[in-house]
Symmetry: C2
Amino acid sequence: MVQEHGLPVLAIDLGGTKIISAVVSADNQVLLKDYCLTLADEGQTAVINRIFSGIDTLLGQTGLLPSQMGGISLAAAGAIDSARGLITVSPNLPGWRDVPLRDILKGKYGIDTFLINDANAAALGEYGCGAGVGVNNLIYVTVSTGIGGGIIIDGKLYSGACGSAGEIGHMTIDVNGPHCSCGNVGCLEMLASGTAVAKEAIERISRGESSSVTDIVRGKIQDITAKEVGMAAQDGDVLASEIIYKASSYLGIGLVNLVNIFNPEMIVVGGGMSKMGDLLLEPARQLVAARAMPLSAGAVRIVTAKLGEDSGVLGAAIFARQQKLI
Amino acid sequence: MVQEHGLPVLAIDLGGTKIISAVVSADNQVLLKDYCLTLADEGQTAVINRIFSGIDTLLGQTGLLPSQMGGISLAAAGAIDSARGLITVSPNLPGWRDVPLRDILKGKYGIDTFLINDANAAALGEYGCGAGVGVNNLIYVTVSTGIGGGIIIDGKLYSGACGSAGEIGHMTIDVNGPHCSCGNVGCLEMLASGTAVAKEAIERISRGESSSVTDIVRGKIQDITAKEVGMAAQDGDVLASEIIYKASSYLGIGLVNLVNIFNPEMIVVGGGMSKMGDLLLEPARQLVAARAMPLSAGAVRIVTAKLGEDSGVLGAAIFARQQKLI
């Protein structure tokens, strides 16, 4: 029998744009990394073949057999049924429904395989080797195209009755707000995500408001994303600053709710929007200080994530270790 | 050394109206119970003396010494700092601030003493011997004058960094909603509590809308509480039905948030308003089915609490046992 303790894990972050595959050591170092585009519109088989290809590339580079790995662990957005090993539905993988990706990977490589929601993986990553090391009760919030989350309680991922916990972006904060594609109304994601920021910038600039964002995208207003709005806000553009401030305030309202519900030691904010740093976080922090229960508001630190694009693979690897107790 | 395993616990529920003191056996039976009015406006010393008196009465009836008890455990509303044994602030106890009630009780009786938030206690009670027996991940929501909650994860109370977790009633569900006395805005409690129901009934009837609630309170409109509105709604009164339906819908929005965040196996709804049963719960359940993430919505059972007024003392006793491992 192979001694599994200390074996590296093959970790995959199956994103909407790219697939990151990595070999992660037992002490959470990314030893090797491989990228390819997801190209989800080419269909399920093509995507799965690209996952195989990433794994094969890494195995080739290490010169190890699958059996010399501690397991495979894959993180993906959406409703991931970790217990049954299914990608139930995923916003990044149109047409996928109840895809038994765990068994597909296990069938090919013959080793233990795990699936996990990507925000849950990032939460574990930040807890295990990022901003939240040593913080046993923390909430991870990713603010990107969408808003997701992961809950660490007593040093373990809390994933709920069927692995769906942590859908922080789909909490109603505005009962009279817009309908969300998830079926709910006034979701935090509709008001504070990168998508919301880009949408508001496009609408307001299209209506004639002036902003340096227009120059950044060279007049192609439909190309505006939250990144450009953030850049303009950082440079003091008034419209962009207003839009980011508004999103940050909505984010703050979501964080107040989390602080009152969880009384966490820390909230780690990751995802693309978190690269704006205090521009995004400071108004949210002020809202928490002003509105959350004083004991809980005083106890929480609200910080940006540390791991960047590696959070998914690092967290997926930690998840595999926790599941296997390796 | 006294063998502590199996000893009864002196459990106290310090409510806004009355103080319930009880002797609770190791198998969660209320062996003896004593009541007195809280009369908080008589001041802190008077209330504490009434707590002493309740304990003394029960000790007298049992014929046991304090040292023959497993401990004292007291549940109260508000921000209870369980770790430091303080009643930080409590809506039911005006003027109390950082009162070291644990040490006051321990000083008098010389045995281990514990303080716990009353909704957290009720959560433990329903988990230990009520509606949630055997359900390791559940959320308890009390809908009464205010709205509070308790979170059971892996069979244990999750109380957060400093014992303040579970303030479910103070989650913003309407960013443009009314200001709450807690300092937050559009809190669930402002929209779905018994207080909100009574307030809306009084306002609408005062404006001239007709309702059988007016007859129930014999024309004394200012005396209307949620109880009368619930009674009238049960009898088909249109205005009362509308008001209860609206509160239930707001409650449902809060439950959708909890379902998406926690993916719990069960939500137990207690408190005075829960006596309305399906009149309150059914619209909320329908909202969860329509709006929450399908996997999570399918996994959760939303039920009424079973323990009634004993939930606080039973939960407080369970808390003491969990803390002492007795």
